[in-house]
Amino acid sequence: MALLEVENLRVEFPTRRGTLLAIDDVSFQIEEGEVLGVVGESGAGKSLTGASIIGLLEPPGRIAAGQIRLEGERIDNLPYDELRRIRGKKIGAIFQDPLTSLNPLYTIGRQLVETIRVHTDDTEAQARDRTVQLLTEVGIPAAERRLGSYPHEFSGGMRQRVVIALALCANPKLIVADEPTTALDVSIQAQIIALLKKLCRDHKTAIMLITHDMGVIAETADRVAVMYAGRIAEIGPVKQVVKHPKHPYTIGLMGAIPIVGRDIERLTQIEGSMPRLTNIPDGCSFNPRCPKVFDRCYVERPDLVPTGETTAACWLHAKEKTGV
């Protein structure tokens, strides 16, 4: 049994002009201690998938179908308060902007102690010791003296380290990291990712790493899921997906990988742009942009099918299996 199982997840936004289908039949698993990268263009549904897992979909968004299971237990239908006990304790989260993730009015020591004490039976003093230890672990020098500092007294990179400490402080099984370095200076991004990866390896924490940066995925992730227009286009071990992508969209993405060390480029080098949720084409949603498109792509929607070492949703690869 995998640590996290997402099965046929469907997220909808009821609007006045009808229901928007933002996540359509998404399934994947994350094993214990595994790093799953999630990539895709802006609006592909990466953040919504992450938010569904930590139970923080913002209304009116809602999970309309499917299941999310953590260690075999369903968490998608838990009452709010039970879910709250899982958040932070079993599933940590890191959001994009370290500058605004911390409450400006409280010292970082207080925010850490508060979080630890919600999830453990620690006394104030024990929580304090643990806080110092955590801050040291995430690389904040002279941690003891920094407990009384406020967020505005730290640089962006340092704040993101504090945020990581906060996400890890109850030893969660899984961390959902939604573009954890996008807001940071390029020179610090690699450090923060490396730190995150090292900590999670030490604590045997799995990561769902959402990013635009294929370079980061290639270096960090064990497996990668490529999302497009609310669905998974391809998912598989990172080596295979990077070296031998099967889905035409993934192939396009790989063409857009920045050379390591150069500035990150956004994944927009495939011609055209992703369809809006309101007019996703019939058949394969990638068909307007696909260089390999053929008749069937306009009529039928391809499902995820194992092809060699990865799994892709594309008629090019389904043919052999289904024998059409």
């Binding site: 932070g88 400006p104 919600v118």
Partner: protein, 318 residues
């Protein structure tokens, strides 16, 4: 400080523009010589700056001259009336804060609940009805129809040193209910709406989202994290509002014949009793300045980002 000098100056100018007080003090038939003698005695013939300096100097010592109307020292009149006004303002401010803030927080958190909508609708009434209408309505219902509360005056006051308080007698308590509600209603709705909109704003911030992701309880998030972040603007408005409570108290005191400074002021205006008017203005300005100072200090207590000296940039990235 500068504010105070300007206000003192304006107050002083009133002496020169609001008619010649001597006219009111001596009869029509007084001779020119009599008038001049009076003017000399009052120092009205001295050069402008000398007069102003004397006025300011006296004002600092709490000396505002003699009321033309009542022929008594203004300082005495004011100190007799001040407790009534301050008690009314205090009661109203406490009422406005104790009701406005919790309702604001509630309607901010339960944004879509029916009860929130009702509260908001009701608050619209508070904002749009003028104070005197509310006062008269309350008098009509509680004093005229039900006859349970007095419609005017302050009830029995007890003298504590120079301070006279209405809070030690039943009639005093009864008397303050209607005026303080009247005075508080407008401020209460302002506070309610402000707290609500600030709460809505803060609830959308990343640090609240992250606090949820950390698994903190709703109570901690709502009150510990969200509410505290609304405090800076809320304190500002409350500070300003206590000031305007004093200003609005003129109307309320007139409607309820409350024996406070505002009522005194209105009577003084009717009589062109300039020393009283000047003293009132200077005093109100003093209160405003005091409140501003207090607000600044509170900012400092609430928001660490304003404590500049500590924020010496520490800890870069390696």
């Amino acid at each position: 400080m500068a504010v105070m000098v300007v206000v003192a100056f304006v107050a002083f100018l009133m002496f020169n523009f609001v008619g010649d007080p001597v006219d009111n003090m001596v009869g029509q038939e007084a001779s020119y010589a009599d008038r001049e003698a009076m003017r000399d005695r009052l120092g009205l013939n001295d050069p402008f700056l000398v007069q102003f300096t004397r006025f300011a100097g006296n004002a600092v010592q709490g000396e505002f001259g003699i009321s033309y109307r009542l022929q008594r020292p203004v300082a005495d009149l004011i100190s007799e009336r001040m407790p009534a006004t301050l008690e009314l303002v205090m009661a109203s401010a406490i009422l406005a804060i104790l009701i406005g803030i919790p309702l604001g927080v509630y309607t901010g958190i339960r944004r879509d609940a029916l009860s929130s909508r009702l509260v908001l609708m009701f608050s619209l009434v508070g904002v749009s009805l003028p104070t005197f209408v509310i006062g008269i309505l309350l008098i009509y219902v509680f004093a005229v129809i039900l006859g349970v509360l007095p419609s005017f005056g302050r009830g029995e006051a007890v003298q504590l040193g120079w301070w006279s308080t209405g809070f030690l007698t039943v009639s005093g308590w009864k008397a303050i209910i209607l005026p303080s509600i009247t005075l508080a209603l407008f401020q209460m709705t302002l506070i309610l709406r402000l707290v609500r909109s600030e709460m809505l704003e803060v609830m959308r911030t990343d640090y609240i989202k992250f606090a949820r992701a950390r698994g903190l309880s709703d109570r901690t998030i709502n009150f510990g994290h969200a509410f505290k972040n609304t405090l800076v603007p809320v304190i500002t408005i409350i500070g300003l509002n206590v000031g305007s409570l004093i200003a609005f108290s003129i109307i309320t005191e007139t409607v309820f014949q409350w024996p406070g400074m505002g009522f005194l002021f209105i009577q003084a205006v009717g009589f062109a009793d300039v020393p009283v008017m000047a003293a009132y203005l200077v005093l109100v300005a003093l209160v405003f300045v005091g409140i501003n100072l207090l607000v600044d200090i509170l900012y400092f207590v609430v928001d660490p980002r304003l404590r500049v000296d500590r924020s010496v940039a520490m800890g870069g990235d390696e």
